[in-house]
């Protein structure tokens, strides 16, 4: 087994973007690369694959100019034999060509051969449905994000099949999957992983799989033990000394996960008869009725209740409307049949905005939005992000203490003056969480709170949330990261959300 090692330096306008020494990849291995978002994982992968524009960036790879690196036989062989699945599939599909036409482009083999892969990744043998998908133009809202992502995976698998047919065991490869499960629910993520491992078993090829999803470890662990020895886990982290690559021990994650227990199991909290928040099932948003169910009664709708000292988890596959639901109960979206009870305050779609402003937002309830990049003002500073909050919040000293705890470092004036746009994705997410945590509201809604965080930060944030729970607060978690939340939330406190189109409902009723 040979190890590829890279010293990479990438800068733009004399500002360093990535600087790492000894970035190691084992050949013919699958390497899972974890790490907080925005520290340069994708940039490193693109640099190694030879995809970065040398005219826009100053790049040096193993001490040689990037143009020379890209022209090397080694790099060109990799590009010829491999495939790069980009993080954001929408921007990497041609909107003027049908998906079927794009499968036949370049070095990809013919469409007919794709049908087997399509069947596998769509988990269907319905040819009519698959033909329909192949005839679609990738416009913004059709196909869905998950379908677009799976389509790029189809292309990658086509290249893998070509490689398998070549029967050349010495051909250099480097398949890069950048956040391949970002838009996939757990089922389709597992389908993709098992398919990848199946192919890998037939012929080993170098694979770099970038992800934040630590629960992928549990899914991979189910694979054949013969393959496991060819799988490695690494973590990229950004410290005071810059970027470093370390081996990640999957057992550490699994041990931590199995050690998690719902708080109520060992902490006997006095349950108040009146919940802090009660949301009736059946609100109508964007032409769909959002229906809530709970394990206490699967066959009927149940209202979502958050009591003091409780952590509630709202589950659904992506695209069903979890974020829409959260925005609606925060009064940010017009929703019919909205019934939100906050102790002695009832909120409906008729409630004037002024009530939300004066009695709800930041006073009794707050929300952390899922994409920190969009939820924070990129032009603001770290200090500026936390200024202007209501007066009943923590003192400056307490805020600094909380920041030090979440950021796991000393907070100095220089950091407070840093513009949000210069923070890494993980730091932005932490700041996004801190802004809600400092408010100390009774109800805290967290939409995908672990987005972009590394394992260490996930543990820290979860500990802080448990502290809040112990302090009597009610927490609503919204996430597709089922593994972690299933472990920390009491099963009785897990709610499922499903969306029923209202037109379909009316048709059924009339029949």
């Amino acid at each position: 087994m040979s190890v590829l090692s890279y010293d990479i330096s990438i800068s733009k306008h004399n500002r360093s973007l990535v600087q790492i020494e000894n970035f190691r990849l084992e050949e013919n291995h699958i390497t899972f690369l974890f790490g907080e978002s925005g520290i340069g994982k994708s940039l490193i992968a693109k640099a190694v694959y030879g995809l970065l524009p040398p005219e826009e960036l100053q790049i040096s790879l193993n001490g040689e100019p990037y143009v020379e690196y890209c022209e090397r036989n080694h790099t060109q062989e990799i590009q010829r034999n491999s495939f790069f699945v980009f993080q954001e599939p929408s921007t990497h599909l041609d909107p003027l060509l049908t998906l079927g036409a794009q499968v036949e482009e370049g070095t990809l083999p013919q469409k007919l051969r794709a049908s087997g892969i399509l069947e596998r990744l769509w988990n269907t043998s319905d040819q009519e449905l698959l033909d329909k998908i192949l005839g679609v133009y990738p416009k913004p809202y059709r196909p869905s994000g998950g379908e677009k992502q799976r389509f790029l995976l189809v292309m990658a698998f086509l290249k893998i099949d070509l490689l398998l047919e070549q029967m050349d065991d010495h051909a250099r490869t480097m398949f890069v999957f950048d956040e391949p499960s970002g838009s996939l629910d757990n089922h389709f993520r597992d389908v993709f992983l098992s398919f990848l491992l199946e192919k890998f078993e037939k012929r080993k090829f170098t694979t770099l799989l970038i992800t934040h999803d630590y629960s992928i470890i549990s899914a991979v662990r189910k694979a054949d033990p013969n393959i496991l020895k060819d799988i490695s886990y690494k973590e990229l982290s950004l410290g005071r000394k810059g970027l470093t690559l370390t081996d990640f021990m999957p057992d550490n994650y699994l041990k931590w996960l199995h050690g998690q227990k719902p708080l109520r199991m060992f902490f006997e909290a006095p349950l108040s008869p009146q919940p802090l928040l009660r949301v009736a099932s059946g609100m109508e948003v964007f032409g769909r009725r959002l229906v809530l169910t709970n394990m206490r009664a699967w066959n009927k709708q149940s209202a979502l209740e958050i009591h003091p000292y409780s952590m509630v988890y709202l589950k659904a596959p992506s695209g069903v409307g979890k974020t829409t639901f959260a925005k609606a109960i925060m009064g940010l979206l017009p929703a019919r049949n909205l019934r939100v009870a906050l102790k002695n305050l009832t909120l409906t779609e008729q409630t004037p905005r002024n009530i939300w402003r004066t009695r709800v937002w930041g006073k009794r309830m707050t929300i952390t939005f899922q994409h920190a990049d969009e939820a924070l003002n990129q032009q603001s500073t770290v200090r500026g992000t936390l200024s202007g909050l209501p007066r009943h919040t923590m003192t400056e000293q307490e805020i600094l203490q909380l920041m030090a705890e979440v950021f796991d470092c000393e907070i100095d004036d220089r950091f407070l003056r840093t513009k949000v746009r210069y923070l890494s994705g993980g730091q932005k997410q932490k700041l996004n969480l801190i802004r809600s945590l400092v408010l100390d509201t009774n109800i805290l809604i967290l939409d995908e709170p672990f987005n972009g965080l590394d394992f260490r930060s996930i543990v820290q944030v979860l500990d802080i949330l448990k502290e809040r729970q112990k302090a009597g607060k009610g927490i609503l978690l919204i996430s597709h990261n089922e593994e972690i939340f299933d472990a920390v939330v009491n099963p009785e406190q897990v709610y499922y959300i499903s969306a029923v189109p209202i037109s379909q409902e009316k048709k059924t009723a009339s029949v």
Partner: protein
């Protein structure tokens, strides 16, 4: 002589060189100031003291008026833009419609016609003894100009608010209990739209100079039996309208037929040539600065 690379001056000079080399807007600012300084130096040596004083006052008054117009446009535009947003937000139909009507009315009046009305009012006020000092007269005209220019600022304010309201960060801040007025004024308009405002204000500076000079040129025929151009503070427009400036500019036409006339233009017809040059050069530079800002900030 060997350069000492450790000295801060060297770093400042180098940074400036790099900055100016990369940024079109800064390059044109330097060119504009350099051009004006060059003209000022030339005039110091070759223009007669009376005309020199006149030009100095004209440039000072014109730029003072344009700057005041820009400042007033920003203040009025910002205030009305915010008012428009909150009136709509709080569903105050009457005041909202009244404001929209007023703005539409202003938009329907050609700017030059509006400025002429402003001059008529100014003439009346001078006649009544209300506005006596030149500074207050310039300020009045700057106010009239700003009424028309502020419409562009209002549009910018409402456009920026509308854009950011669709983003999560507006809602995220609202849900954290921040005041909407703070989110709009500080986060949206100040922190996130400064470059847009800077670009708009630079453009309006050019518009204000052009409008001021155009109207001064037009009203050079006089406004009433009591009040004429001589009552108003001298600006580049009114100076251009003077007979001797016109003759200077006509003299440039002679140069087309006889190039040997060039030295006489540069030494004997300096008043008109200077005014025309400062006006045209300033407008070109401002256009280029605004264009450079647009490219630099990717607006």
């Amino acid at each position: 002589m060997k350069m000492n690379h450790n000295r801060p001056e060297w770093y400042i000079a180098r940074s400036l060189r790099v900055l100016i080399g990369q940024r079109k807007d800064l390059r044109w600012v330097v060119l504009w100031l350099g051009g004006l300084s060059g003209v000022w130096l030339w005039d110091t040596f070759f223009l007669n003291p009376l005309a020199y004083e006149l030009i100095r006052s004209a440039i000072a008054n014109t730029f003072y008026g344009a700057l005041a117009a820009v400042a007033l446009s920003l203040s009025i535009g910002w205030a009305l833009g915010i008012a428009l947003h909150f009136l709509e937000e709080r569903k105050s139909r009457g005041p909202h419609l009244a404001l929209i009507f007023m703005m539409s009315l202003l938009r329907s009046i050609p700017q030059i016609v509006g400025l002429l009305i402003g001059y008529i009012l100014l003439t009346w006020m001078i006649g009544q003894g209300i506005l006596q000092s030149h500074a207050s007269q310039i300020l009045w005209m700057a106010f009239v100009i700003s009424l028309f220019c502020s419409l562009e600022v209002i549009d910018l304010v409402t456009e920026r608010i509308a854009y950011f309201r669709t983003l999560d960060y507006f809602h995220a801040m609202l849900c954290c209990g921040m005041k909407e007025s703070r989110i709009i004024n500080v986060d949206i308009l100040w922190k996130s739209s400064r470059s847009h405002f800077l670009h708009k204000l630079v453009s309006l500076f050019g518009v204000a100079i052009l409008l001021q000079c155009s109207i001064d040129f037009i009203v050079s025929v006089g406004l009433s039996s009591d009040v004429s151009l001589s009552n108003f503070p001298v600006t580049l427009g009114s100076l251009l309208a003077k007979l001797d400036s016109k003759q200077d500019i006509l003299a440039m036409g002679s140069m087309v037929l006889d190039i040997s006339y060039l030295p006489r233009i540069l030494f004997q017809h300096l008043q008109g040539v200077t005014v025309a040059f400062v006006l045209v050069f300033t407008l070109v530079c401002i256009y280029q600065i605004a264009d450079g800002l647009m490219k630099y900030y990717d607006l």
